[in-house]
Symmetry: C2
Subunit: 243 residues, 2 copies
DNA sequence: AAGATTTTATTTGTCTGACATTTAAAAGTC
DNA sequence: GACTTTTAAATGTCAGACAAATAAAATCTT
């Protein structure tokens, strides 16, 4: 692990990159302890605060964890699916909100990915997952539910569907797409009529999963996508010419 | 933005989270300048190094960028698709390598997602993207190509397919899945026979895209997935009883 | 000798104060 | 008015110190 002090980039960024490369290449393995901050400052010929800034960068990416005390230090972290989820959700959410991604584009991506899970989910869904979906549908039918709570329940429903595929890699990839849509969905005002429609489709999706009918799940997801996009269009139109 | 100094977590982590929340909630908007490090240390009642560690954490997530000099400072960064790609690839790659995800699981996820793009790509692919795919197929046919280079070309081919869907959100999500598979794919030794088979399928996929035949693209992707999994199984079997 | 307690050493977390470097704006010069 | 110089503000880096946590070693007690 070497750095070039003449490079224009910040030393702490260079050091972080050097350690990151070592982790990715397998030179440093999971749970291995890095040299102490003092040793690293010697090794890279920089001060301790600079080393610390580098380590904090890596900690922010969940690449290392630190522990105080004797026999403490910085350890290479095994990135868990949990860690990866939350990072992905943060990034995806900001990516959509900051880059003026159209509702249609996001919606298309989300439903395309979700439909990719549908056949697997139809095969493998557990009764627990089906029960979760039914419970969320029940919650969605409560008339006093706020729009935000309705959307949150929608996310839970769809995550259960995705988890039904029983493939953690798929679940991880989808987490970003499904959750990142939520702020966009929150812009929609759901009328009693539109909620009824969505709940009906949710019920049909749950039915299809119960029957393990992949084609029907797919068809209903297509319907749901179309309906969702229509709702968004209505909102956009009302914005153009308000009452 | 407030922090609680009594909390067990590191101050720099708390400060980073407070600023992160402010960005996510929209309290801080893109290109807005954060207070200077000195001002932040006053505000949070901590020292400048602690503030700096917090800022480096945010910089590692591409949430802020910094600029030196007068009228410099830390600015809220617009997360680009580029930034998000590279972060996602790093995370996905480590996630797979560190968590003993089986080849089958990763492969299933990757092809499921890719098949989600196929119908859109069949509709929208440009002739440029088709040309890229043909060029990569040509490269793959070079007999002197190393296994690593063959895999790299494979990634380029499949990314072109995904980009054909003309949906940046989909491309972003897929980048992780496709690229993260590469280290796993690199474990496969491609014989002349298996390369021939893969190239043949690539050609048929390109043909199908040229004809805008979504069903055929899908079918060929299924074939390719099956063949890839078979190759991996052979490798695993050879490991069990080596020559 | 075994177990409980205290001490000690190590390591990260934090602070203070300083200097270097970069950069844009202000001041000065022709 | 255009160019040059100066200045001020901000981040980047350094050195040295102390605080706090923690595990291991040493000591004490029974």
């Amino acid at each position: 692990m070497k750095i070039d002090p003449r490079k224009p980039a910040d030393l702490s960024a260079q050091i972080a990159q050097a350690i990151r490369d070592a982790i990715i290449s397998g030179e440093l393995i999971v749970d291995e302890r890095l040299p102490s901050e003092a040793e690293l400052s010697d090794q890279f010929q920089v001060s301790r605060p600079t080393v610390r800034e580098a380590l904090k960068r890596l900690a922010a990416q969940s690449l290392i964890r630190t522990q105080r005390g004797a026999s403490g230090g910085a350890f290479v972290n095994r990135i868990s699916f949990e860690d990866a989820y939350s990072q992905q959700i943060t990034t995806s959410t900001l990516l959509l909100s900051m880059n003026a991604v159209s509702f249609d584009t996001a919606c298309e991506a989300r439903f395309s990915l979700e439909r990719a899970c549908a056949p697997l989910s139809a095969q493998r869904r557990t009764s627990d997952q089906l029960a979760t979906m039914r419970a969320e549908i029940f919650r969605q039918a409560q008339p006093r539910l706020s729009d935000e709570a309705f959307c949150a329940s929608d996310v839970t429903f769809h995550r259960a569907l995705v988890d039904g595929a029983d493939n953690p890699v798929l679940s991880y990839q989808l987490a970003g797409a499904v959750e990142a849509m939520q702020p966009l969905m929150n812009m929609i005002t759901f009328t009693a009529r539109s909620r009824e429609q969505i709940i009906s489709l949710h019920n049909q999706i749950a039915d299809a999963l119960e029957e393990r009918d992949a084609a029907k799940v797919d068809a209903k997801l297509v319907e749901l996508e179309e309906y969702t996009r229509k709702l968004a269009q209505d909102v956009a139109q009302q914005h153009r010419k308000p009452a």
